[in-house]
């Protein structure tokens, strides 16, 4: 369980969520994103292709991150949600708040 960070095309920072995004590790993701913003990065993609579960605290962390990135004039995309995870975004209407693509490749070309 954790996060890995790479630099994709279009100067996009890609954060891969491995396993879960939950109450126990949400601060780690927020810190990682803040560190990227502090370095001047403004395009971020959080990819969930290897993620089994996101809890409501994880959803809340994504909302916080999204706000922070917008405040800094940046853009955030999400990708790779499986059907179960997608249903959580739909139930909470967060699918209307985030730009979500099926694959990270689609997200990278959408910036």
């Amino acid at each position: 369980m954790g996060f890995s960070q790479t630099k994709g095309s279009n100067a996009v920072v890609v954060v891969q969520v491995e396993g879960q995004l939950v109450v126990g590790n949400r601060h780690e993701l927020k810190e990682l994103v803040q560190a990227a913003l502090d370095k001047g990065e403004r395009r971020l993609l959080v990819d969930f292709s290897r993620t089994g579960y996101i809890d409501s605290s994880g959803l809340g962390a994504l909302v916080s991150i999204s706000k922070r990135i917008r405040e800094m004039g940046g853009e955030l995309r999400l990708s790779g949600l499986n059907d179960d995870l997608r249903s959580l975004f739909e139930l909470t209407k967060l699918d209307t708040l985030f730009a979500i693509t099926e694959t990270p490749e689609q997200a990278l070309t959408s910036f």
Partner: protein
């Protein structure tokens, strides 16, 4: 390292419940790092011997995680000296699971609707909403420190 979680599984007699059932109880300290293991343990025992659909498995995991998270963080205020009790009553048709903390309780009717436009951009407040959407019935005790969730196996 020894797990601080305390699990008990037993079959109840017909007089104790409505017909015989399996009773799973789990006691865990108020530490968010215990949630994952607790969810795994309770989910495994709740679904053992049943051909559970992927949807039921996912819903059970979600609502257990959310209820435990609420109990540990809001109910017990992450006070590691306080405990959370999980009690799952398993019958062929349904799973009835309650999560109880040592906190003063809360008024579930006063929790704002997270889908309102002014709430959508808020970081918190989605846990109870998700529980209500994903189970067949939700009940609280009078004090508001115990939630009971009923999930039909369908």
């Amino acid at each position: 390292m020894t797990s601080p979680l305390r699990l008990c599984v037993r079959r109840t007699s017909a007089s104790e419940t409505r017909g015989s059932a399996t009773l799973v109880t789990l006691r865990l300290p108020s530490d968010v790092n215990c949630i994952e293991e607790a969810v795994e343990l309770v989910t495994r025992h709740c679904l053992a011997g049943h051909d559970a659909t992927k949807t039921i498995r996912f819903r059970l995991r979600v609502v257990l995680s959310e209820a435990l998270s609420n109990a540990i963080m809001r109910g017990n205020g992450e006070d590691h000296t306080k405990w959370v009790e999980v009690r799952a009553e398993l019958v062929p048709e349904a799973i009835r699971v309650s999560v109880t903390d040592e906190g003063p309780g809360f008024n579930p009717g006063a929790v704002p609707e997270p889908l309102k436009p002014e709430q959508l951009d808020e970081a918190g407040g989605r846990g109870l909403y998700l529980i209500r959407k994903l189970v067949d019935a939700v009940q609280f005790n009078e004090q508001g420190n115990s939630i009971c969730m009923i999930l039909r196996r369908r």
